[in-house]
């Protein structure tokens, strides 16, 4: 249960609002990898002078990100992963003999097996070797990217939408709504992640992408919802919101135009990091035997299969493990960079 936790576990049951905002903020801040470039320690420095361009949070953030090599590398990796997921066969061609072997069954290259080549170690012809069934491992690992990306984006995407809606309602309208939604979040949050995932998934006979995603969605929404709620609460008190209200702006307009554009920043940052966490969680569940089922191809399943032969064939663990780690790392770095770029305090 403690093996795979959503970041944000520092929240106690029903934290004081201001403290919740501070705590969550601190945790997000804790994800920051880059020391801020040159702290301007004197008030004098930042004041005075007229800015030449329209400053906006996202515009500024983009400008800053564009110049950071770490961000560019991570973004490049992301693009690469997406490309691999879209056309794994194309990338498999990079290793000619791998592709030749796998394409003996063009409809399902990743599943073409030759038992006589079971657990062959990596070689010049077959970069990642073979798995237990005798399938080319390079091809399989590449194909596994698809599932990971889909689950990652699907789960996080839906969670963000849920968090947006519920967080806005809870934060903006408060009181009864807040209590109900808050309690709901607490309940789901009290369920230990891995364990609950284990239990819920063992209930299901057929564990395809949607089933696994659904369980992960249910386990992940409370943290994002809380973040959104904190943002909305903080934004609600702002003077410019009061002013807008006095001018007759509708609730929807206030949310859409005044609160959300800035308030959604911490949610986006955490969502980015979440993609990595969710994919990791899926792998963990597969490892436990309750994740995706065959014939799905997932890094988690591959790692789970490698268990029995750790000593004799470590390549079975290492390649999907490495891909998984790099994948997660990529999203964590992206999230970190986003966080630094969006933090007004680091200006």
């Amino acid at each position: 249960m403690s093996d795979q936790r959503p970041a944000g576990g520092a929240d106690t049951l029903e934290p004081d609002d201001e403290e919740a905002a501070r705590q969550e903020d601190l945790l997000l801040h804790a994800a920051s990898t880059q020391p801020a470039a040159g702290a301007l320690s004197a008030a004098t420095a930042a004041e005075g002078g007229v800015s030449e361009y329209q400053a906006s949070l996202w515009g500024d953030a983009w400008r800053q990100l564009r110049r950071k090599p770490l961000f560019l590398i991570a973004a490049g990796l992301l693009v690469l992963f997406v490309a691999i997921a879209l056309a794994p066969g194309v990338f498999a061609q990079v290793c000619n003999s791998c592709a030749e072997f796998a394409n003996q069954d063009p409809r399902s290259p990743a599943n073409f097996a030759d038992l006589s080549r079971s657990v062959e170690t990596p070689s010049a012809q077959h970069w990642f070797g073979f798995d237990i069934q005798g399938r080319d491992y390079f091809t399989r690992v590449l194909y596994g990217t698809r599932v990971s990306l889909i689950i990652g984006f699907l789960v996080v995407g839906v969670d963000v939408v849920i968090a947006l809606i519920l967080g806005c309602i809870a934060g903006f309208y408060g009181r009864v709504f807040d209590s109900i939604i808050g309690r709901g979040a607490d309940i789901w949050f009290a369920l230990p992640t891995t364990l609950a995932g284990l239990v819920f998934l063992s209930v299901l006979d057929n564990r395809g992408l949607f089933q696994v995603s659904a369980v992960l969605i249910f386990l992940g929404w409370p943290t994002l919802m809380r973040l959104m709620r904190s943002s909305v609460l903080a934004g609600k008190e702002a003077d410019y919101v009061q002013a807008a209200r006095a001018l007759g702006a509708s609730d929807w307009r206030i949310l859409r135009v005044h609160i959300l554009p800035n308030g959604i920043a911490p949610v986006i940052v955490y969502a980015t990091i979440s993609v990595g966490i969710i994919v990791s969680a899926e792998a963990a569940l597969s490892f436990l035997g309750v994740g995706l089922q065959l014939p799905s191809i997932s890094w988690g399943l591959m790692i789970a299969d490698s268990q029995g032969r750790l000593l004799s064939s470590p390549h079975l663990l290492l390649f999907p493990g490495a891909f998984l780690s790099v994948f997660v790392l990529c999203f964590i770095v992206l999230g970190d960079q986003l966080r630094d770029a969006l933090d007004p305090r680091l200006r």
């Binding site: 403690s2 990898t33 607490d186 891995t194 963990a284 268990q307």
Partner: protein, 307 residues
């Protein structure tokens, strides 16, 4: 302060029932007939089945089963396995192992995490700081089970420092699994401490403390740390609760006979009384730790005390 305590307590109750009910309901939906599974291929007479079903309340509607279960909980009765073993006994037997593992992981992550975080926070931008940040990023990225296997391979087999599976007397065999278990939280603690410290060092009251002519040691050690550690201590408390509730994956990798592994096995063999029992105990511990942390938080931060 009393109101604060009372409020937290009241809020904890529906959460407990809600969470446990969800788990109970989920388990209730596990397909297959546990009675039949219990007896394998031997046929069982209808009347015998009926007796068993009645004994385990299998024919009652969900809500009633849940109510009876909670009623039993109050008296410490976590139900029985289908072979007649009280679940409570199982918990009692396996829990100390998990607790030991949890404690070891907690000490590991706490001490190392705090140290790393403080060093990094005090020397922001330095080599130490960057080292901490980079290494923690990598640790976080590698999934726990991969980390566990790699640790087994490298530290257990190749270098031979630690046993790779099972538990022996004493603490030595707990070290490797504890390190793996605590790795993720270690990262959070280090980062959280660092960030908190950096932020607090920037605040106005630190400037005042310096203006008072206090030595640096005191400014940092007393003023800054006291404030910075508040969120960290909170996190530590909650994490201990989570650790105590069991760690399935780590126990699985290292073959440790704790409650985590027990649950895993129980799911496989459809002993749902065990599953529900252990999960319920876990939720209970988690909620309790949260409460303790909330109270402790009020002690640490006087601003909270008077609301």
């Amino acid at each position: 302060m009393g109101r604060y305590v009372a409020r937290r307590l009241l809020q904890a109750i529906p959460v407990f029932f809600g969470a446990t009910f969800i788990v109970f309901a989920m388990v209730y939906l596990i397909p297959g007939d546990p009675i039949r599974a219990l007896n394998g291929e031997r046929p069982i007479s209808e009347s015998a089945q009926a007796v068993l079903r009645d004994r385990y309340n299998l024919d009652d509607p969900l809500v009633v089963q849940y109510a009876k279960y909670v009623g039993g909980l109050v008296t410490g009765d976590f139900g029985e396995t289908f072979r007649g073993q009280p679940v409570w006994d199982i918990i009692k037997e396996k829990f100390p192992v998990t607790a030991k593992l949890a404690l070891a992981a907690f000490i590991f992550e706490g001490v190392l995490g705090l140290l790393a975080g403080i060093l990094a926070g005090l020397r922001r931008g330095s080599f130490m700081d960057n080292l901490v940040l980079v290494s923690t990023t990598f640790i976080v990225a590698i999934p726990v089970f991969v980390l566990g296997f790699v640790a087994q391979l490298v530290l257990g087999v190749q270098v031979g420092w630690f046993p790779i599976a099972g538990i022996q007397e004493g603490w030595y065999s707990y070290i490797l699994p504890a390190m793996v278990l605590g790795s993720l939280s270690l990262v959070y603690i280090a980062r959280l401490t660092r960030t908190s410290l950096v932020e607090n060092l920037r605040s106005d009251y630190i400037r005042t403390a310096e203006a008072k002519g206090l030595p640096r040691r005191r400014v940092v050690g007393r003023h800054a740390l006291r404030n910075s550690l508040i969120p960290v201590v909170t996190f530590l408390g909650v994490d201990l609760g989570t650790l105590m509730a069991g760690a399935i994956i780590t126990e699985g990798i290292f073959n440790i006979p704790g409650v985590g592994r027990e649950v895993f096995l129980a799911v496989g063999s459809q002993e749902y009384a065990v599953v529900v029992g252990i999960v319920t105990a876990g939720i209970l511990i988690f909620i309790l730790m949260n409460l303790v942390v909330d109270l402790f938080y009020a002690v640490l931060d006087p601003r909270i005390r008077y609301e």
